[in-house]
Structure formats: structure tokens, C-alpha cells
Point group: none
Amino acid sequence: MPDLEEHMEVLPGKILIVDDEPDIVEFISYNLKGKGYLISTARDGVEAIRKAKDFRPDLILLDIMMPNKDGIQTIKELRVMPEFEETAIIFLTALSDEKSEIEGLKIGADDYIAKPIKPELLATRIRTALRRFRKDDDQDQKLTFGELEINKTKFTVTYKGNEIILAKKEFELLSLLASKPGRVFLRNEILQRVWGTDVIVGDRTIDVHIRKIRQKIGIDLITTVKGVGYKFEMV
Amino acid sequence: MPDLEEHMEVLPGKILIVDDEPDIVEFISYNLKGKGYLISTARDGVEAIRKAKDFRPDLILLDIMMPNKDGIQTIKELRVMPEFEETAIIFLTALSDEKSEIEGLKIGADDYIAKPIKPELLATRIRTALRRFRKDDDQDQKLTFGELEINKTKFTVTYKGNEIILAKKEFELLSLLASKPGRVFLRNEILQRVWGTDVIVGDRTIDVHIRKIRQKIGIDLITTVKGVGYKFEMV
DNA sequence: CTGCTGCATTATCAAATTGTTACCAAAAAC
DNA sequence: GTTTTTGGTAACAATTTGATAATGCAGCAG
């Protein structure tokens, strides 16, 4: 009977590869799998965002030129969502367009790699980028405010030691607001960051979720700024 | 049938030798057995993969030039399987082809040794490679949570002293979840880490395995986080 | 070779939970 | 005082998971 053991211990990281050329995806994917990275792939920006939400990559390799939604647009949308605020993103650029490289970095990429891609270079850059964002995998990512604790790793919220069960959207919404206490998030912004850009929901949806959160936590940590949005605040 | 030598006490390691020339296999095999390694052999890539699954070597000596499936192709296939992700692999190369050596290393070999093989050199390299992947072989790797014990070496789970028989996938799944108690594992992540990157299985597969585990253990140690994933938790 | 046996996966349906909307009342803004 | 915006409630829709049985497959004993 096989001893499965090691393969599930320390993984170097999860990487999402986004490119419309299957050959390139295949090539990179193959190279990185060999090094123990977990790989997911997408062939355009729309798919990329969808997969990223599920896969939660530590790093995204993002082609600039793509159909359906280009790299620039994709990174913009990703960076707006709280869960990808601190995800490493490396652009893949055809060396033709030097201008876009610079633009890419300004927009929020951490690095860029010119095609054709050299495996050694790729590996090095990836290691560097991942090191920069090294989240202690052993340590929980959590936000604490006095008696309230939001643990993103365990997906739990506790208030005065009691665990409060929040549904996914509720949790995401609270996490977003709590990520910048005091800051007002516009309704529009909340929609974008929690629901994404292409999902369309009615006006009342946010309200209802806010209400449920307030109800579950008991005290009102969320303040309404009428006509504008909501903000998280410890009293 | 691999020639195991059960009576050996402290095993320095299990080595799979893959070469199509019986003389070389014999030569290396003889040398390494003398040093206390457990040896298994294969004469081509296809046989190598088959034997590797059974034998679970700590290190594979892999000839590049072989009939049926060459070393390059073999290592590619091995590296993709999670259980060999972290197995040391050393290429055996005829010094004729220098280019392939480099290629081999890039692909995921840990080292290469040029033929003709010198026993001292071979021994040194093997020690080095094994050290790099050193796993506490002497001590059982186990996780304990109160009355529950998961022994990764023996492949057993006991609860309140009673041994619980889990199937392979069930065991892998439980091990993964228990490796970070409290942490939520996304369904996708579970799929990747237990089933591998290229295996495609339906949505319900994880559920069914989770259910079987719950059923066998009796108490529910696994918590569902709806829309997100599962987590292991002692209550 | 044949028929077991146990495991992994899928199919199907039921149940539970979650997300969204409709509607109206309440509060604030103008 | 009207208009706009949000809160509360419940209904509804959608999604997700649980339970169960069935299928297919590989290993194995005879």
C-alpha cells in the first residue's frame, strides 16, 4: 500500500497561468508543475477572474494581449477585489510593446517577463515574487478589533469568544469593510469587490447582507453613510 | 516483484534503478545493496513507473537512453504525480549527449551522473540527494488530536484506541484536512492536492469521500463551510 | 480464466443553506 | 412636505451539499 505522505506538506505555492495561446500555457504549466507548484490555467481575462476566485493563487502569470478581456483590464479588476489585493501578479509581454510593460507595472503588476519565456528566468522571478508576498502559511490571517476577530484562514468570526457563523457573502462583505476600519466604501465599490464586475444584482442586495451581519453580530459595527455607502467602525 | 529485504534494520533509503543494460543494473545494484539500500530495478520507463508506484523509492536512478520510454519522458510523467513530486531523481547519462543532461536537470532531475559510473562518486551523490529530501524516516509521522491519531507512516487512523480502516483517498483527504486543523480548504485546493492537477472528477466526489470519513470515524470532525470548502476541527 | 471483493467515481434526488428580490415602512435628505 | 435612500420581513430562486445506490474497475483467490 502506497504511502502518500509528502506531496501534501509544504507546497511552494499556487500559480494561475493566463494566456490565450495553449502552447505557452502548456509549456509554463509543465515547467512549474515539475517544481511542485500547483497550477491552474485560464485562456482569457474573464476566465482568469473566475478561476482566481476559486483557486486563490499566490501568484498570477498574466498575458497582456488576450481576447475577451486583456491583461490590463484584468489586473485592474483583480486589484480592486480584496482577496487579490496582495496576490503577486507577473505580466507576460510580447517584447514588441515596450510601452505596455511600463504601463503594466504602474497599474499594479509586480514584475513582467518578456516572451519568449526562458524557464530559468521564469523560475527565478517567480521565487522572488512569491518571497516578497510570503504569507506565513502556518499563521492565520486575521483581523482583530477589540473583542471581534475575523479569521480569514479559518473563515470564522468570533465576538467575545463566541463564534458567529457568517455565510460566504456576509463574510466577504464584513472582511472588506473591516479591512479598512473607518473608511467609507461606496455601494458601487462594494459591489465590484464582493460581487465582481460582471455580476449584476439589485440595489437592495447589499442592504440585506449588511442587515444580516448586524443581526448576527449583535452590536452595530457597521455605520451607514446615507447616500454614500457603509463603513466599519469599532465604537 | 521487487527484491525487498525486510530484515534490514535502519534503512538508509529505497532506490529504484532504471536502465536497459542488465550489466549496469547489476553493477549498481550490487554496490548499493552492500551499503544497505533497498533496491528495486526496472529496464525501461514503463516498468519504472509501474515499479515506482509499488516500491515508493526515495531515490530513482534513471537512465536517459532507454527503449519503450526514455528517461526524459519518464521523469515528466513521474513529476506530475504527487507522490513523486518530492522523490529524488538522478539521471544516468552516456557522456555523449551533453545537451540532454542539461535538459534533464531543467525538467526536474536533481542531479546527473555520467557513465561509466564510478562507485564512490555514485555513493556520494546518492547520499547528497537523499539528504536533501531527508524525511524523518526513523520516526513515524503522525498527527494526533485528542483521541484521534493519524499515522501517515503506517497509514492508519485510530480513534479511542480502535483502528479505523480508511481507503486510500479517504486517508489522503483526512490527512490533508488534518494537516492544518481549523484551516478551511477550498474544494478546488482539495481536488488539486488529493487528486492532482490533471485528474478531472465530478463535483460530488469530494462530498462522498467526506461522508465516508465522517461515517467511519463516527463523530464529525470535518466541518462544512458552505460555498467554500471543508475544515478539520476537534470540538 | 472467472468470479469475487473493495474502492473510486458518478448519477440522482432530497435537504439545507444561501443569495436575491419584492414590498412596504421608516428615516434622512432636500 | 416631498423625495430619496435604507431597514425590516418574508417570499422566492439559486446554489450547495448530503444521502443513497449504481456503475466501473483493478486486484486477487481459486
